[in-house]
């Protein structure tokens, strides 16, 4: 069965964040998801650099080692390829590792393990072996961290059949999606926006999961669809406000997972609005936005009133100087401007 097709055509609804009784940060949501899954399933363990007592440089894992011990929250050497490989082997033999790769830029060091091993083992073995591993990593610029700590490389892994790729944008989504990723029988790459760890949002205290492959309409609108991922969902939502004052009603679709991609929700939205702008923080050329724009062109061509536009990170290595760096990623202003152009309202 073709998994991606099956999921994209599913009618599964995402549970809504009902209990608005408490707000937690994105980082706490990740922490809670891991803790709950580790309590539920003794096969789940964490391995990575500075994950135990340090709780990662972002402090996302703080406290986990206290509850689960160093046997399940394992500080590794600075060996990204090695720990990814160990994750693959452990996953193949009955464990459910969560591999922590501190910066998304460092997934380049894990590429053989992810692309040639994890992604292909189930297929190459004729379906006999599987790799239920989650690789958590980060994305996002504007932290003044320069070219090797600021990239958003989700396109690299979204390109590879056999990998699932998750890009949550809210604490609620992060928790529900991470729990699903850990329970998934496939290798899943889970991207967290470094700038979002302190972002607060409603998360119900009750148990819930969010299925992989289901996009979420973050804002209903009628004139244009803004399709966004992770960090860019918030940029899109901020743009909505200024568009409103120009009389433009924008719909925001958060794809939540690029693999599987919920094509149906995206296409249905564009059929309704007739205009689309796709925004992702990865490099624009050959990026996630290109794939989604193509999906829209294929699925909603006769409904379009304007060309599908896309915005990604500028095609330059991310520069250090704030004056330079700030130009490289889409902003609410640049997104609003592009959306207005598409709606012929300058």
């Amino acid at each position: 069965m073709d998994e991606i097709e099956a999921v994209s055509s599913s009618t599964q609804k995402t549970p809504a964040p009902e209990a608005r009784t408490r707000e937690i940060t994105f980082g706490q949501a990740i922490n809670e998801a891991l803790a709950e899954e580790m309590r539920r399933d003794p096969r789940v363990f964490i391995i990575g650099e500075d994950v135990a007592e340090a709780g990662t440089p972002f402090k996302v894992l703080s406290g986990l080692v206290k509850e689960f011990g160093t046997e399940r929250v394992i500080d590794s050497p600075i060996s990204e390829a090695g720990i990814a490989g160990i994750g693959v082997g452990a996953a193949m033999t009955g464990m459910r590792p969560v591999v922590d790769i501190m910066f998304g830029d460092f997934i380049t060091l894990t590429m053989d393990q992810l692309v040639n091993q994890a992604a292909k083992i189930h297929y190459m073995s004729g379906g006999k072996l599987k790799v239920p591993m989650v690789l958590r990593t980060t994305l996002g610029a504007t932290r003044r961290s320069a070219a090797q700590h600021s990239q958003s490389l989700q396109a690299w892994v979204s390109h590879i059949p056999g990998l699932k790729v998750v890009l949550p944008s809210t604490p609620y989504d992060a928790k529900g999606l991470l729990k699903s990723a850990i329970r998934d029988d496939n290798p899943v790459v889970f991207f967290e926006d470094k700038m979002m760890y302190q972002l607060k949002g409603p998360v119900p205290p009750e148990e819930y999961t969010i299925p992989l492959g289901v996009a979420d309409v973050k804002r209903v609108g009628s004139d244009i669809t803004l399709v966004a991922t992770s960090s860019m969902v918030h940029v899109a939502l901020a743009a909505v406000e200024s568009l409103q004052s120009s009389g433009i009603s924008a719909e925001v679709i958060d794809v939540r997972t690029t693999a599987p991609l919920d094509k149906r929700t995206i296409i249905e939205s564009v059929k309704k609005t007739s205009r689309a702008l796709v925004i992702d923080e990865g490099y624009e050329s050959y990026g996630v936005t290109a794939e989604i724009a193509s999906v829209i062109a294929d699925g909603a061509f006769y409904y379009l009133d304007a060309p599908v536009k896309r915005m990604g990170a500028m095609d330059v290595p991310v520069p250090f100087s704030p004056v330079l760096e700030d130009q490289t990623v889409p902003t609410p202003e640049s997104v609003a401007e592009m959306a207005k152009q598409l709606c012929n309202k300058q």
């Binding site: 069965m1 073709d2 998994e3 991606i4 363990f45 046997e71 590794s76 050497p77 060996s79 390829a81 090695g82 720990i83 990814a84 490989g85 160990i86 994750g87 693959v88 082997g89 452990a90 996953a91 193949m92 033999t93 009955g94 464990m95 590792p97 053989d112 393990q113 040639n116 091993q117 083992i121 189930h122 297929y123 190459m124 073995s125 004729g126 379906g127 006999k128 072996l129 599987k130 790799v131 239920p132 059949p161 056999g162 699932k164 029988d185 496939n186």
Partner: protein, 335 residues
Amino acid sequence: MAKSKKSPSRPAKRASIHDERWLHFYRQMLKIRLFEEEVNQLYLSAKMPGLAHLYIGEEAVAVGVCEALRRDDYITSTHRGHGHCLAKGAVVDKMFAELLGKAAGYCRGKGGSMHIADQDTGNLGANAIVGGSAGMATGAAMSAKMRGTDQVAVCFFGDGALGQGVLYEAMNMASLWKLPVVYVCENNQYNEYTDFRETTAGEVTARAQAFGIHSESIDGQDVRIVHATALKLVERARRGDGPSFLQCNTYRFHGHHVGDVDRSYYRSKKEEEEWKKQRDPVKLLAEWLQKNKLADGKLFAQIENEIATEIKTAVQFALEAPYPEADEVKLHVYA
């Protein structure tokens, strides 16, 4: 390294198994030999898609090591992996079927020669990335330890993998965490078409020793030496004493792959002839069996006949077996 070129075989240390068991070793080694010769024929007669990397000449390593393992122990293998798969318990008909891309193959024809995996015999798969399974084998060992089993993982790789950094990342962690893994370096003297001495600085075993890993270098052509050493290292891992590194000095009698026929630019005919004549692992064991009156010409002929028949039947089965249905191409991308 010169050690492996010394001839002929020295008597192995007395191993703690019954002498009759060596006959089983002989059968296993001969099965690999005849299997690989048939693979070459399938290539030459254009019946096999793609290429294959023959294990002929290195049989003592796979058999000596895998006979020291339990069925539920793990191995990871290499692009030159047929020997490991068979030694760990794979059956020849499913092997041939996989090599021919048939649905009856170990991986339903999706893996082919370089990716045979068989979870029933603990084979986590052959791997076409040199050094690509170092992390995987180490992870399997870690998993065994975490799950509280006493399983052991063996990571087979060649001298070429000594150039891959991930091997050292994995060995470092295996040593830190005392993981039950044995790194078996099959040093067949050549990284593809280049003498390993041109690519490998320092002493090979010193690399593992630098991580505090127990390390040995042995004659990989004498299955009794390989087995005795492997038994020791596997049991060591099983009782929780951590990883070890075993360099088996060996030689591939054929080319890097079946199409590598003209090899004069990287090694001499004379060298090949010397190894084949003096260091053939199958012949060495046969001589020892004969000397110790455990087998004679008649028994050898009988064994060869039995295996040849098994191979012939298996090839026929594979040739006649159906290809996978076309729509299987999209099956198994995701679990």
